[in-house]
């Protein structure tokens, strides 16, 4: 299938368009809120919340006998929020650490949800069909009413982020200062967490409980590598989220038997790996190159000192021979060559028939290096 056909389907095929739009909206919202979660070291809170949402879905269904997305999403939000409250209370009031509190919420709420689902399944009037897509996510079954719910809730969450931008920024980087100048830190904290709950809940139907945490963490972790500015990071993270949403939806529609959620997660994991490797400045490749450049620079200065020491001495002819350097400084051939080249290109020394001769600039650099 060619690119044109895919684009055509994306625009005109109802199912694909719906799925792609839903996934993109979810990716955008979770990318934006995930950026705050990662910066506030709450990456795994998302995992706990997404598991904690399950009993809410089941209870909402048991109470209303309705599968309307808004009802289920409301139930999920309430129980996700309750789980968060539990984590906050336990970590504040006892010596139990956050990781343990998160683990308890994650497994107990989810277990309770599964218990409820198994009961629902045995009820004569109802089946859990439509509910278990919250478990593993079924983007392919997204309908336009789901997308409308996603888009409305997501837009509301993004609007709040926009309005309280300055407050959330401060909350992420210096909550202590924020408290000291009189902001209601706890209330803002709860609000931001609530927005995260909303982002998670609207994502569950698409990617499922287990993989939802990746939708929060991965775009943000990738975006973090490319910039130090919060605004850019949030935009980039939201952009990554939306991009992998569309890519995952299209790929799983084109290739048979490829579930959307895991496909999206693999795409976003790929973006993380590329970002970790290739990001300018912070990336691993950039780090290695910087380290190598520094090593060559240091060696070039050492070479300049060596030349200065032997300048005008009787052994100068031997010591300044380029071929001699390899033995004397125990450099391997390619490294010695690189250092020699660097010494010449940076104007420390000149080459004259197989020997190196310091320039006046090189002499100054060597003296300064020794004084240091």
């Amino acid at each position: 299938m060619n690119l044109g056909q895919i684009l055509h389907d994306l625009l005109f095929d109802y199912t694909l368009r719906t799925v792609a739009m839903g996934s993109a909206a979810l990716g955008l919202v979770s990318g934006v809120l995930g950026a705050f979660a990662v910066l506030r070291r709450q990456s795994l809170l998302g995992d706990a919340i997404s598991h904690a949402a399950l009993p809410g879905v089941a209870l909402a269904f048991l109470l209303t006998m309705s599968r309307a997305p808004l009802v289920l999403v409301l139930g999920a939000t309430l129980s996700g929020w309750l789980g968060t409250l539990f984590v906050i209370t336990v970590t504040r009031q006892t010596r139990i650490k956050q990781d343990t509190a998160l683990g308890i919420v994650l497994s107990v709420f989810f277990g309770f949800g599964m218990l409820l689902l198994s009961i629902i399944q045995r009820m004569p009037t109802a089946s859990k069909a439509g509910l278990d897509k919250f478990l593993f996510g079924q983007a392919a079954t997204l309908m336009s009413r789901d997308v409308v719910t996603t888009a409305a809730l997501g837009a509301a969450a993004l609007l709040v982020v926009l309005l309280l931008w300055k407050e959330f920024k401060l909350l992420s980087f210096d909550p202590a200062f924020m408290k000291s100048v009189g902001y209601p830190v706890r209330r803002l904290d709860i609000l931001l967490t609530t927005l995260m709950v909303i982002a998670i809940v609207i994502g569950l139907q698409t990617v499922g409980v287990v993989l939802m945490s990746a939708m929060l963490v991965a775009p943000a972790a990738a975006a973090r590598q490319w910039t130090d500015k919060l605004g850019r990071m949030v935009l980039l993270s939201g952009g990554f989220g939306a991009l992998v949403g569309v890519l995952g939806a299209v790929t799983s529609a084109q290739v048979g038997r490829l579930p959307t959620g895991p496909t999206i997660v693999l795409y976003v994991s790929g973006i993380v790996v590329v970002s970790l490797l290739a990001a300018p400045d912070r990336g691993i490749v950039a780090q290695l190159r910087r380290r190598r450049r520094q090593r060559v620079q240091f060696a070039a200065e050492a070479l300049a000192i060596h030349l200065l020491n032997h300048e005008g001495a009787p052994d100068a002819a031997v010591e300044t021979a380029i071929a001699h350097l390899r033995q004397h400084l125990q450099w391997d051939e390619s490294f010695a060559e690189r250092v020699t080249r660097r010494t010449i290109t940076s104007g420390l020394a000149e080459r004259s028939n197989g020997h190196l001769r310091l320039t006046s600039y090189g002499r100054e650099v060597a003296r300064r290096a020794m004084a240091r």
Binding site: I96, D99, V108, G111, M114, S118, A214, P262, V265
Partner: protein
């Protein structure tokens, strides 16, 4: 109760004890969520081994899953060491990726075989008694029971043999390293055991219940004691109680066994959280209340002693005056007066509070203290 039911309860209890033993160290080392990461990621190992051997034989599965568990730990550490992401984010990046690969492999190449994700998350405890272990023609019980027992014995042996090292590395990793016990080695040994425990348990009880049993009971035990051996024993006890009660409730409501057991670990944790003698919320709140009352009563004594014998004493000693002077609410003022009278610090006559001898002594002590 039928034999199969007793066997299910036995299997669940053995698995619960085994999980709680090793989980105690996860909770103490602030690595509880590694159980989450490992128990999800091992899906990939199981799937890959299934493709390689085309069978569901237990031993290769356990080896492959354990290897994947250790791989998860290694990848998380690798990410953390780049210093480009924090530890929590690293965990959140690694296991969804591995789990996704596992899910994709299943749905693309193994959709028709018996390896569905529902079973991975929840296990099939109901069917566990049907898979029997036959030795020399004799039926000696369900396979899962023997598997669980072996892993439990391995965990117990590891903890007994390396008790001192584990304890030191858990509570003072710096000292442990200085004394020559490699923290890295202990970390990986522990993580290997977590993986082995997770994989041998999850076929019976599912990965979610593995997490619940590894974290919930030890966390509850942590609120009840300060001593490691007691914590280990209490964790095991609470885990077994959760498993048994969970099974009974699942039987009553005819629901998911694993879900019900996980719920029970939560119920037990919340009960302990409330009523634990020193660290529980109720005792914490009542302690705070008592301290507040103590402080307020002392303030009242100082106030009375300042004004005793002064012309304005008649006005200052009035019970009704306290709400205005200290800005206490009426019930709080009444509580404080009651608190002080119970201790014989003050006496009341005609709505006027007077210090007793004991009250005078306490007031002067308080003033010296400040």
């Amino acid at each position: 109760m039928s034999t199969a039911q007793i066997e299910i309860i036995l299997i669940a209890s053995v698995v619960a004890a085994s999980c709680a033993l090793i989980g105690t160290f996860l909770v103490l080392r602030k690595m509880a969520l590694m159980s989450d990461a490992i128990s999800h990621a091992i899906l990939l190992g199981i799937v890959v081994m299934f493709f390689l051997t085309r069978s569901r034989a237990s031993l290769p599965m356990i080896l492959a899953a354990t290897a994947t568990g250790v791989l998860t730990v290694y990848l998380v550490e690798l990410l953390v060491q780049t210093r480009l992401v924090k530890e929590d984010a690293a965990i959140g990046l690694v296991f969804p990726a591995l789990f996704s690969i596992g899910v994709i492999l299943i749905s693309r190449y193994a959709a028709n075989i018996h390896l569905d994700i529902d079973a991975v998350l929840l296990g099939e405890l109901v069917f566990a008694p049907f898979d029997r272990l036959i030795v020399a023609g004799r039926d000696i019980g369900p396979k899962t029971l023997w598997l669980g027992l072996s892993v439990g014995v391995i965990n117990l042996a590891f903890i007994l043999l390396f008790y001192k090292e584990l304890k030191l590395a858990t509570f003072d990793p710096g000292l442990a390293a200085a004394l020559g016990f490699s923290p890295v080695l202990i970390h990986y040994a522990l993580m290997t055991l977590v993986s082995v425990t997770a994989v041998s348990s999850f076929e019976a009880v599912g990965s979610i219940l593995v997490i619940a049993l590894m974290i919930g009971p030890p966390a509850a035990a942590y609120l009840l004691t300060d001593r490691l051996p007691v914590m280990l024993a209490l964790g095991v006890l609470l885990a077994v109680v959760s498993a048994v009660l969970g099974y009974l409730i699942a039987y009553l409501v005819n629901g998911s066994i694993a879900g019900s057991m996980a719920t029970m670990t939560g119920v037990i944790f919340v009960i302990v959280l409330m009523v634990a003698p020193q660290r529980g919320l109720i005792s914490r709140w009542s302690r705070q209340r008592r301290q507040r009352a103590q402080f307020a009563a002392e303030a009242l004594l100082v106030h009375l002693s300042q004004h005793t014998g002064q012309p304005e004493f008649a006005a200052e000693c009035a019970v009704t005056h306290l709400t205005g002077h200290f800005r206490w609410s009426e019930p709080f003022a009444a509580q404080i007066v009651r608190f002080a009278r119970q201790r014989d610090w003050i006496e009341e006559s005609d709505g006027c509070l007077r210090l007793t001898r004991a009250g005078t002594r306490v007031a002067s002590q308080v003033m010296v203290r400040s």
